[in-house]
Symmetry: C3
Subunit: 398 residues, 3 copies
């Protein structure tokens, strides 16, 4: 057997992730350290196999359902790529073309689309308190449908972004960090700055900063969350970050200064988001149908944002990081000064210098999603990886 592939299998043999079989992926902090590491390992293994022209198609038929309640390019294509890599055909539930507006319950729709679905990927990040709840409702529905004999298989949920976490993004970010730093064992004591940055747009999701502090605090790093006053994230997630840090010998700290966060940082992740409290208020107004109130809130928030145009990832700030060479991260697309806006999250020269690593960061997402599916669908993932190599079917017959 190929030595590198054997290495991934050996690694998996050392981990306990048996609870992932037939499970779902909602939030990274639902998962044990071993489970998180299993996802990284399978992602690397699947990538290695694809790069070496070994087909990892484990499904001859089956659907991967996607539900995008917000626009998406990279997550949509990542999900499609992951499903395709494993042999599942993507079928998008376009709520505009369906009968959902027709008063149908979530329970019903979830079952109706799942008769031959092995996976359901959902993005629902628009309203605080809604996205995660919706994903749970879908999983409850198909779990019950499977138990009741309605469905022949329980489709696996992959959270493609909710109001709380963005696990496929943050795990792709993290796998990128691991590769850049040469292994998870080199991360202890490294400083990561998750900082707010100014953007002319309004109401960017909180799930990225929350996902980052909820995940990155698990590897012994010193994680700093920086934002202007009033731009807090969900307090529950901050508690998780603190607990993680305490367990792994790292730290979690909050500051109100971008400079302080960048100082000697090994990794920086400057990105705009909306204040949690304002997003909660927005959800309430939405619930009441108070659209004038929503407009008013939007204006207030844009005015509040405009006071913090100095929160930008400049060359000067970058020079204050460790050796002036911190790894710059972003989930993309970024608001780049003089490219997509006048004042934004990052100076164009900084962005340009990190373009290749940024694109590489994004390249991990299809494999993270594929690994999540693989671990939920295969009872013995190591055996299947081995059998796939032995089967010897080329991805590209040439």
């Amino acid at each position: 057997m190929d030595a590198k592939l054997q290495g991934y299998i050996d690694k998996l043999n050392s981990l306990n992730f048996k609870e992932m079989y037939e499970g779902d992926f909602f939030l990274t902090w639902d998962k044990t350290d071993d489970e998180i590491e299993a996802v990284f390992t399978v992602a690397d293994a699947l990538r290695y196999m694809r790069e070496n022209n070994i087909s990892t198609k484990v499904f001859e038929s089956g659907l991967g359902i996607s539900i995008f309640r917000d626009n998406s390019t990279r997550t949509r294509f990542s999900f499609a790529s992951a499903c395709n890599l494993l042999g599942l055909e993507v079928q998008d539930l376009d709520e505009k073309k369906s009968q959902i507006a027709h008063g149908e319950t979530v329970r019903e729709t979830a079952n109706m689309i799942s008769f031959m679905a092995d996976v359901i990927g959902i993005r629902d990040d628009m309203y605080i308190g809604k996205g995660h709840k919706y994903q749970q409702d879908v999983v409850d529905a198909v779990t019950e449908g499977f138990k009741d004999g309605v469905l022949e298989q329980k489709p696996t949920l992959v959270n493609l972004q909710c109001d709380i976490d963005h696990p496929t993004q943050c795990m792709a970010d993290m796998l990128h960090i691991i590769h850049e730093f040469g292994g998870v064992e080199n991360l202890k004591g490294k400083k990561l700055a998750m900082t707010w940055a100014y953007s002319p747009s309004y109401g960017k999701p909180l799930s990225v900063p929350q996902g980052v502090i909820g995940l990155m605090t698990r590897f012994g790093m010193d994680v700093v969350l920086a934002h202007p006053e009033g731009y807090d994230v969900m307090p529950e997630v901050e508690e998780i970050a603190k607990a993680n840090a305490a367990k792994t010998g790292g730290s979690f700290k909050k500051v109100n200064s971008m400079e302080e966060a960048f100082k000697d940082a090994d990794i920086v992740y400057p990105k705009s988001w909306a204040p949690f409290a304002a997003m909660e208020k927005r959800t309430d107004l939405y619930g009441k149908g108070d659209f004038d109130g929503i407009d008013k809130l939007e204006k207030e928030l844009l005015a509040q944002n405009a006071e913090h145009k100095d929160w930008c990832c400049t060359e000067e700030l970058m020079s204050k990081t460790k050796d002036g060479k911190a790894l710059y991260l972003h989930c993309l697309p970024a608001d780049i000064n003089n490219v997509s806006c006048v004042d934004g999250e990052v100076e164009d020269t900084v962005f340009d210098r990190y373009r290749v690593p940024l694109y590489k960061e994004a390249s991990f997402k299809p494999y993270i999603i594929a690994a999540m599916i693989f671990l939920a669908k295969e009872k013995d993932p190591q055996a299947v990886l081995k059998a796939l190599e032995e089967r010897g079917v080329s991805r590209h017959f040439n």
Copy 2:
């Protein structure tokens, strides 16, 4: 060979369905009893194979084209599932993104999308006299295209709902009944009530009640069609129902009372639909471009509907059925009191009690569609089923 699969093959050996090869599926009453039974048998066989992880992928490449001229969730996903199960990739013809508005003829479009199409599934149920006609035009076009050497294969039409019939729905309903009653031989003398029910919405298709009376009268059951005065369905379909009943020793009766229909019924199917005469008028107005007339008609019909709010499947009515335990059917989504509307087709407690069987009813649709395709595409379906088992490719490699 697996005994159960052999049983399905034996069953098929006893039936004459050779005319289905290279045929199309428009209306159930175009088909002989043997042909209908062949569809049920292949549907069960394909389901059995999938449940036992045997791949039934008979196409390495090929497209399944879908044309939805009305919104759809479950039929869209059922069609996608069926195509995927057999190895065909769904390509949806979104008429908004195509050049069809451009004055192109049906004949031309049908050929242009069919160069590699093995199946075309069409939903066109909006206007009386249009949907079935459109499907016929498409079939005529591709049949001619095949004869002329334009197309390498004649794609099979699957009627995914027209103005006259909804065969994939009604055959899924029927297969559910067969399974619930333990076999088609147990249906003789059973009473089935297809009844109108109130819905606050307007203009629901007639194809379900028509499809039900056109199909369910073929099994020796006592079929009762109940609706308020003025809510008649197409007279031609009533004639078919009468003729079917006469042939099979069952009966077909019309009443204007939900109570009477429910009394001692074994199966009830309460569902809203629009009056046939009004839908004909609407088609005429549409043809004339008289949109004010259409608005006026809609208002009249909603007012007429509102006089029949008492046509609701209540607990009280259910208690009048055979042992108070009739099988409740619906094509979904239903208008449920206090769930999707104040007054609707069914009380929430009734609906809730039948949720699992209702979802199972829906679960047959992908297999009914797959069976229709299979029987049109395979010259010797029994041999292919056998060969698929012998090939021994798993649906899910694990």
Copy 3:
């Protein structure tokens, strides 16, 4: 080995097309005569194999990305068919559902959608100076992404229509001509009339007439371009046509009379297009956001068009062609008198007489696209064709 398939392989062995491997397909005149002939040969071979139920699926997984910046039916389905034939799953980038409006650069989007993309097909024909440029930017981006290690493979671009050329259309047209005339060796001295024709619509792309004169002048034919004064195509493409003709012993001539063009023609291609100069002006107005100017221009052009209603492919004109039997071509859909409009490009009786050959003309497009992909993806196409025959997997298992 099958003799006919061996014939295609022998033909390929006589051609030099090694530069096509890992290349892109922008414009036919970028390609050598051998390369063009290789595309025709592989298209015929793939068609022959499909007709003989030999699977040509060379990809177990992989995506074919489509970007349609203009409506499309036949090219959309042709691209989907071609990808499916080779084993790639189509994933459409719907710019309305993506975050592209979000200020993202072409470079970024191109990489983000390409992590598992083997092919990108783009239609962008709306603005002069834009479509080809956009396709080049995408190719530059993914080429760089591949070199930088962001992408595991460089997706191949297939130009599905730009502002300059429409190679998949014109090569399908040409392959149809070759088949109708019994081989490319029979085309020397044949007269082909590419002529403007009246249409009540506005602003049809120039890429078809340009593509036709840029390609058809390479086979020793006498190509005549006819249009009313003011309806010139891009001068650069006329230069290419002249140079081609000079090289192959054919001719390229411009006239302002449909009669003159049709006289003794063996092949006629009457089709509406917009004047190049006007389209350039329109692009400028668009660049300035001058929508009133665009409306005004549109009115002027429609008025100008209306002066040329006599430019119609009538029975009388057809009778002036060689033996009154010239091969009539069109990319479809055509504006047909009394069918899609009162006055249009062609009389209905002419169109009807040529319906079957017109549909056959269109049937080559999926294979032309598949051949372009095949030649870009296979290092040794002859060996792969042979191996596919030896593999002996049926397209349809029956």
